[in-house]
Symmetry: C2
Subunit: 431 residues, 2 copies
């Protein structure tokens, strides 16, 4: 039996308390699996007096997480405070500077400072692990970094924000508009204090940028993720997509094209019958595609005390077993500078446009598409006779087209003089 | 840069050649990810002269895989020959005796000899890895052993024989009987030389026994798996199940009940809308349930050159990175002797019985169920008027019942004198 692995736990919110519970409940199981005891020696949080759902009396208390990280009786810092700067960053840097390993659930911290933290960790002989930062309880970092390590990764996709998927599937199931379901989600406590982290796609974008770094051996580049939230997804488009056999998801896609790394976190149409299309409510799903393995789909809870703590403990147990891998799967210095490509990979697009119902209006729109080199797969006018007869809603599905060509055509729509409001265009991702 | 990791490859069939291709194609990628070169130094197969789809000229040749395993320039034996005794076992034992690590795709070998091989490996300071042995390209051994290591596992389920799932989904899609689709599968080359390994559930049972050992910390006990193949699944039952919203799958289930470890590999009804129910064709799926994480679903290709070689290489890369874990996730000596429980966990059952159409026949069957303590959820007679009016086909769905009670009731059916042939009973698994 080797010496215990001693944890310092910074953050006693939902995830932190979940970690305490597993360490306490499964001490025997964990020792059997790792060959050594795993113990918590000290904890830190903002408010010592808060009533928490766990017995913390055996642990030393530190008001300052940086002091926690530096304690001699802490081998590993568990950082579950959150926030991409401030105490989370300071404590992580302090732990690394002291040569200690860090397990973190903090996607924002790594999305913003992953490269410098990885370099610092490697220089100090420390390891950073972050299974809990992406897709909650799904062991996707491990699947990608280790399980598919013999593959050149072709594409990574995922629905990685449960709140957005809840909102979109609830809109569809209940036929309710975005604003109503957003308000429901807020009242249910599903939204972050800054809801834009969820519905603006930022949280999911953080996660995608971490997966992309591992998948393609590139530096984390969250600032290069094309971000579009779900605030403009209308119930009308959800219903029209459904009629055609598609569901709308906030889908992250990372892939290497001839022009470099593409990272998108945007609403997409996916086939209703695909695993991604069938995903309901707050569940997460990640799809990994490798040159040898083909397609692997991972599905599970993306948040919550138990699932997130399970992921934190997987990292802790890896460290207790002696597994030491570079943060993003290869030495930080060898990660390539990603080419800042906007997406160039062609795809079919769903386009909905409201036109003044004048003779030739449809032809003008079709001409814009044709002149941009885009061919039309389906085109139909949605109004039933007698209904809103001063305007025509037109639904178009294109054949595969480059995103830039789509953007150009939509620009040209405006110059036709027949548009009523802005057109909607949503990518149809082949999954 | 540390020294190369030198592989000895025993077996040059589909999987072996797949490994050669990855090692050759991704030498740079693998070195970047592991910090050291991974090379093949020697290979072995039955027939040296056979034309193979890879350039093997740089590798030493051994006719005898045992000699390969003992070579001084081999650090790791890759055993992809198959067979639970004979050369595969001899080579594996020779490698372990020489203190060398083994990566194997051989589920039969480990299902039969896993405990003794694990003990020998640990005594010799060697490691056995077998990601490729279960569910092909899906990194499920890693997900269970490492990714969910902080959980007490509640249940493991899986569709892990692609040929069986192909046959069952093809029967349903085409409305064809088992014998016809079995013959199709044989002609397509989907079946093992001994088809009973596939359709008898043996191959899938091997896999289940390995997952169960890891999940529950028990010795591999393939001989305790309740095995029932798909040979008796009729198109009639597939169609009737479908009408009720279920699909029939050859489903493996391992769970710990009050009476010990239960392992079943049997046809089951699962909800058509569940991830398992939706699984089509040769794809595999494994469902892992842990006390903290909840339910994780993994889906991917269960066989084939690329996927299986991907899994072999994941193990090789783990070894190159220095990961060393006990074969079944904890020291072999600490694995418990599993209680040889036949399944006792209650479930609803689907029962189809053909009765002589006499007054009181239905009541007699219902009485048998009632006397066994089984209550009926649905019961209906299937014959349409005028059709086969000398007999009545009765479909029953029970409430949750213990398997032993179901078996007892079916026994009693025979004594009623109203049965025409044997009844069919299929477990409905809650997934």
């Amino acid at each position: 039996m080797t010496a215990p692995l001693r944890l310092g736990l910074a953050g006693l919110g939902t995830v932190g308390i979940g970690v305490v519970k597993i360490v306490q409940r499964h001490a025997g199981l964990i020792t059997a699996r790792t060959g050594r005891p795993v113990t918590i020696t000290a904890v830190s949080a903002r408010d010592r007096t808060k009533n928490r759902d766990a017995d913390l009396s055996a642990y030393a208390w530190e008001d300052d997480p940086v002091a926690l990280a530096r304690r001699d009786d802490v081998d590993v810092l568990i950082e579950v405070m959150g926030g991409h700067d401030g105490p989370a960053r300071a404590a992580t840097e302090a732990a690394i500077a002291a040569g200690k390993d860090v397990v973190t659930a903090n996607k924002a911290l790594l999305a913003h400072h992953g490269q410098e933290l990885a370099e610092a960790a490697e220089a100090a002989g420390a390891v950073i692990r972050f299974e809990a930062a992406v897709a909650g309880g799904i062991p996707v970092i491990k699947a990608l970094t280790e399980g598919l390590a013999g593959n050149e990764i072709r594409r990574v996709m995922g629905v990685m924000n449960g709140t957005c998927n809840y909102i979109l599937t609830r809109m569809q199931a209940a036929g309710l508009p975005y604003a109503t379901v957003f308000e429901e989600a807020r009242q249910l406590g599903y939204l972050e204090a800054d809801p834009n982290l969820d519905v603006g796609g930022i949280d999911a974008g953080h996660k995608l940028s971490l997966l992309a770094a591992i998948a393609f051996g590139t530096r984390v580049s969250f600032d290069k993720v094309e971000l579009e939230g779900i605030g403009n997804v209308s119930i009308e488009d959800i219903n029209l997509a459904d009629e055609m056999g598609y569901h709308i998801k906030l889908l992250g896609v990372a892939q290497m094209s001839g022009r470099g790394l593409e990272q998108r976190m945007t609403p997409c149409l996916v086939p209703a019958e695909s695993p991604l299309g069938q995903l309901q409510g707050g569940t997460n799903m990640v799809v990994l595609e490798g040159d040898s393995v083909g397609q692997i789909v991972l599905r599970g809870p993306g948040a919550g005390e138990g699932p997130t703590a399970s992921a934190v403990m997987a990292d802790v147990i890896d460290l207790a077993r002696g597994l030491r891998i570079s943060t993003f799967g290869q030495p930080a210095a060898t990660l390539a500078q990603p080419v800042a490509a906007r997406s160039a990979t062609p795809a079919p697009y769903y386009i909905r446009a409201t036109l003044l119902d004048k003779p030739g209006a449809l032809a003008k729109i079709a001409t814009c598409l044709g002149e941009a080199g885009i061919s039309i797969d389906q085109m139909r006018q949605l109004n039933k006779p007698g209904e809103k007869d001063d305007l025509a809603v037109v639904l178009i599905v294109t054949h595969k087209a480059a995103p830039a060509d789509i953007a150009h055509a939509l620009d040209q729509f405006g110059a036709t003089g027949v548009m009523l409001g802005a057109p909607v265009a949503i990518r149809i991702e082949a999954v």
